[in-house]
Homo-oligomer: 384 residues x 2
Amino acid sequence: MRVLILGADGYLGWPTAMYLAEQGHHVHCVDSLIKRWWEMEMGVKPLVEVPPLAARIAQFNKVSGEKLSFDILDISTNERRLREILAEFLPDAIIHYAEQPSAPYSMSTLNRAVETQRNNILGTLNLMFCVQHSCSDVHIIKLGTMGEYGTPNIAIEEGWLDVVHEGRKDRVLYPKRPGSFYHLSKVFDSHNLEFGCRIWGSRVTDLNQGIVYGTSTDQTDKYRMWGLDTGFHYDSIFGTVLNRFIVQAACGVPLTVYGEGGQTRGFLDIRDTIRCVELALENPAAEGEFRVFNQFTQQFMIEEIALMVVDVCGGVIDHIPNPRVEAEEHFYEAKHTALLNIGLEPHLLGHSTIQGMYEYVCSHRDKIDTATLRPGIKWKGGGI
Amino acid sequence: MRVLILGADGYLGWPTAMYLAEQGHHVHCVDSLIKRWWEMEMGVKPLVEVPPLAARIAQFNKVSGEKLSFDILDISTNERRLREILAEFLPDAIIHYAEQPSAPYSMSTLNRAVETQRNNILGTLNLMFCVQHSCSDVHIIKLGTMGEYGTPNIAIEEGWLDVVHEGRKDRVLYPKRPGSFYHLSKVFDSHNLEFGCRIWGSRVTDLNQGIVYGTSTDQTDKYRMWGLDTGFHYDSIFGTVLNRFIVQAACGVPLTVYGEGGQTRGFLDIRDTIRCVELALENPAAEGEFRVFNQFTQQFMIEEIALMVVDVCGGVIDHIPNPRVEAEEHFYEAKHTALLNIGLEPHLLGHSTIQGMYEYVCSHRDKIDTATLRPGIKWKGGGI
């Protein structure tokens, strides 16, 4: 298949690009590199330096014998070039990772809330129109997040909910109540995309993904020695929680659990992210279908995750005041059978995965910037 | 009370400003005047020429003895000046009309879809942060639309829905499925505002308004001779349906019903819009409360509205192919008791209201541009 990856320079975009290229797909990469600027702005960087996108694509093509191609392009502002790329490359599917991915970033100031919603909503709108204009049969695979749902007191279904109200029935978009301006931007993307399916017959798969952990995929392992690792973030802004806990354990500082730690979330291994995207690719949404998969494999409380890390790596847990506004103890039951039904075989979180991540981090222990581990951004701030 | 009106140059903003000033409130008007540019862009104009905002405020102050003040300002781009105005004026309440108000405009091209969502979402985000920063106790009264709900097969509640799912209960934001990029922008505003209530304790009333008709309020009637009418749009882009039907009847062209005409919508008289806003003002939302009122007084099918106009004014009905993507026959039952419960006494649609509008339009019959009456913008277009 011809696959266009938007946001191919990212934590998930890069290993997805390498994997799909090795599976024999023709992959074209697009990225604006703005995420690297956001990192500079916030004073954080990945554990291991990530070479420029052009350099790592050249290196990957050299050592793998594959042929990734790429364009540097901001889809939120340059719809003209996006349209040209669609017309030239003629993709069968588009994997859309090209969004500002951090809740704390979006909550830090007005300008960053605006930048998050501008980038994410308008980038996705541009994509929708350009696809409709240039290649309307293309399957759009969009990365959303389980955080869009919030923590309702009823079970979380996969995107849609059958309701009975005053004796009448309807199937409605699942009512969402997310917890940051970033998560809100993803809810808005979902609404815009569902509307595109209704009016234009677009084909969309919306992957509401849980919290991803890990740095090891077949390709990052194989090509690590050539500097083709993915960017591993552990800081309190762009790092996901399990990744951060392992870094905290590795450098001997307490694991920072926000508040009680009873927050329950869905999690998945980075290898499963890539496999889920591939499954969506192999099983495209129908014309006019807005299909939602809840993309995670296990549910844990944050406290449980911390205890698992302590169990494998040692260390202590520090319950710090919660910088977010969120329930710290709540009902949580999220359905996630759709991807299993089409063939997902989960990599479950266990001793060996944590041990592997710990060894990886320890081999780069000297590069850890401990100043970036503790949260500095408060949800109640509302900074201008 | 000290009341800041955003979008005070508009169809509803201007009569609201005059009314509240005469009720003894201290009113400061803000508008970017961008709507006037959008009208030029689309080649349409109101039935009667609307003087510049500065001129009509000066004229109103002269003839009424009141003192409206104003600033020309785009809240979607100039949050710095917005913050200054909040700090200087110190409002008790803010009435937020400052949004791109047309579904067809938002559906006409990619750039206009982007402009609609950019203007509306980012303007509201700026407002939320500036209020939180400068005057967090202010009551924000935001104009939404009944169109946010779409046409679900269950009753439409006022913003929130009690659901039972698999034996568990929750109260959720009413699941919405709107029918244009404009309507979607209002859904997104509602989500952002509800989040502001949750994290900052903001006070918000979201008025999901039906289709407004009319041009006659106490103030527009009293000050009409001094050129202080509100802008009356009848074109297929910015005109609401009943207003357009009356203009079509007045100039002897067929009333254009889109498709079957079985589309059911909520309607209200422009006098009731102003009274509803006043009722919200007099009964502020509590700290942290995201309160939603469904602001309309009667439900009609579009066909019924056309027949009522024909009954009073004569004319014929033309069922033209529907430029929109929408159900033309559907269940519709929308609750709207909250405003009645706090004192709304509706002006119901009848012969005399239609007759009054017809006479007003006939007195300006020579100014009607019939070329702008038929819809040129198709929902399925997706133009770049």
